[in-house]
């Protein structure tokens, strides 16, 4: 109490506003300078550069030459890219639906604080602490016909009789990749949904129950509508992540078999570092950026 009084007294004596640092613009800038340098040099400049590169013939080595709009025109003629767009959209749709459903199921199962629930939450989330590259390599070994445990187990149970081509056919490669993504990301999305579920006041549930609402009614009439903002966030994260998928296809399927699992980002990567065409890759990146920003804006409008 005395402290507050003294300080108030001093403040009155100086006649200065309490925040004497607020006027010090230069000091504020000094503290913010490292942020400004990092964001300016490593984000704003590359963003401008990628647009400039997309307007130039830009080989990996050697001088660049202005050639707009060749890089963009070539995108339409690139059959690999058109296939990649279709494949990436298909992958995004399947992954998003499955991931949201699994995550919602898990979140509902571990929603209530009961003894032991903490263990299950950790168990479901733990794969999320493993890096995605490590997770892809783990599945690469686990699904190997000779080394992995899955094939022998399926055979012992009599479910299969021959080695399963986990990444040997286009459909199986997609299936296995989605299994990997579900394993790695379901817990993470569960955590997002749990925060949303916990924000729903208990009173709302109690009121519904005393009005005689059943479990299913509570779920569809209360939980889902009130969870909408969180579900929207999860959908946006999942769609964005899936459209930009790279690691899983690069490491796990290597785009195969027969280029059936080449994602859009992978085409840009191959353009840049296998075909040494940085300009073409930049044009693809700009298209990707514009598409993604547009899509996210649209989703935020529709879902909110």
């Amino acid at each position: 109490m005395t402290l507050t009084l003294t300080r108030a007294g001093r403040r009155a004596a100086h006649g200065a506003p309490p925040a004497r640092w607020r006027g010090k613009k230069v000091q504020g800038w000094l503290y913010a300078a490292p942020t400004a340098v990092i964001v300016g040099v490593l984000f704003v400049v590359p963003l401008v550069l990628v647009v400039w590169m997309s307007l130039n013939r830009w080989p990996l080595l050697g001088p660049a030459r202005f050639n707009a709009p060749d890089n963009y025109a070539r995108i339409a003629d690139n059959p690999l890219f058109l296939d990649a767009v279709l494949f990436t959209l298909k992958y995004t749709a399947i992954t998003t639906v499955l991931l949201s459903s699994v995550a919602l199921g898990l979140a509902l199962l571990v929603q209530e604080r009961r003894p032991g629930v903490g263990f299950f939450r950790t168990a479901f989330f733990l794969p999320g602490a493993v890096g995605f590259a490590a997770a892809a390599l783990l599945f690469y070994g686990m699904l190997n016909n000779d080394f992995g445990p899955i094939d022998p187990m399926l055979r012992a149970l009599g479910i299969t009789h021959e080695p399963v081509k986990w990444i040997g056919t286009p459909n199986m490669a997609l299936f296995s990749t989605i299994a990997l993504v579900l394993w790695r990301f379901a817990g993470f999305n569960m955590l997002i949904l749990l925060t949303g579920l916990q924000a729903i006041p208990v009173e709302v549930y109690e009121a519904a129950r005393s009005d005689g609402a059943g479990r299913w009614q509570i779920f569809t009439r209360i939980t889902l509508p009130l969870l909408r903002p969180t579900l929207a966030l999860m959908l946006i994260l999942s769609v964005t992540g899936s459209l930009l998928a790279f690691d899983q296809f690069f490491i796990f399927t290597n785009g195969g078999p027969d280029n059936s699992t080449v994602s859009m980002v992978m085409v840009a990567y191959r353009d840049a570092f296998f075909r040494f065409d940085l300009g073409g890759a930049a044009a693809l990146s700009v298209v990707l950026l514009v598409g993604l920003v547009g899509l996210n804006t649209l989703m935020m409008r529709r879902l909110r």
Binding site: L3, V26, W58, T122, P127, L137, T195
Partner: protein, 254 residues
């Protein structure tokens, strides 16, 4: 009862791959010895990973603590613009920005450099880190530093002596996120590093699967997976509380 059975079955499903990988890597301990000699040697790759993670964590902490303080306590021209530009990093696809970054780092002599890679990681961490730190500083009562300022401390002394202690939980969260991201990332080092001796663990271990001669040694591969995963699993379990709290306050501003 059904609930518990479902939960247990699911837990087995989620934990099985981790348990299997650990077991497969230990089945023949010589896999670890063999992996230690792979390529430039495990020691080189692990050292690179540790260096990159340490520089990323340190850089992210310094930049975001100073920046968070600036955004919480000062008014300066361009403040909102800088904050929006930082948050815009979240909107831009990783892949879009890495190819020009590769060219740009070449211009400033940081291509194929662990320092360059760490700076890029710091940039990617900034939206989350700056947001967390700004909120943490804003939550501190102004009286705490006013007292110090009135007693003749400069703002920097108030910041370093008093405020940094008060935001320690946020610093731990930001540091943990920066570590997990830089330790595990595959795409950025794949593009920005092109010399085998500067590879980080994810790039080096993935290259084991792309050997042109001979069969892939799966036991060795799982040993590599464990070397990458175990530090993260341990850190996550120890700091779980920070992770979940930071996640809710930072990643989920909605």
């Amino acid at each position: 009862m059904t609930r518990h059975l479902t939960l247990s079955a699911l837990a087995v499903l989620f934990l099985f791959p981790l348990v299997w990988s650990g077991w497969a890597s230990l089945e023949d301990p010589s896999d670890y010895l063999e992996m230690a000699r792979f390529g430039e040697g495990l020691g080189t790759y692990a050292t690179n990973s540790v260096l990159v993670s340490a520089m990323t964590v340190a850089g992210t902490l310094v930049v975001s603590a100073l920046g968070g303080y600036a955004f919480a306590r000062f008014d300066f021209p361009g403040k909102n613009l800088l904050f929006l530009a930082t948050l815009a990093i979240l909107m831009v696809p990783y892949a879009t920005i890495l190819i020009p970054l590769y060219v740009l780092l070449g211009f400033i002599g940081l291509q194929n450099s662990l320092v360059g890679l760490s700076l890029v990681f710091v940039m990617f961490q900034l939206p989350f880190a700056l947001f967390m730190m700004r909120n943490a500083f804003e939550a501190i009562p102004r009286e705490l530093e006013e007292a110090a300022l009135v007693d003749g401390c400069g703002t920097f002394r108030a910041f370093s002596r008093i405020l940094l202690h008060a935001v320690r939980p946020a610093l731990v969260t930001v540091g943990l996120f920066a570590f997990l991201a830089s330790w595990n990332d595959f795409f950025a080092p794949l593009i920005l590093l092109n010399d085998g001796s500067s590879f980080t663990l994810p790039v080096a271990v993935v290259s084991m699967t792309q050997r042109t001669f001979g069969a892939i040694d799966y036991g060795m591969l799982q040993a590599g997976v464990m070397v990458m995963a175990v530090p993260c699993l341990v850190l996550f379990i120890v700091l779980q509380r920070h992770y979940v709290r930071g996640f809710m306050s930072g990643a989920l501003r909605g």
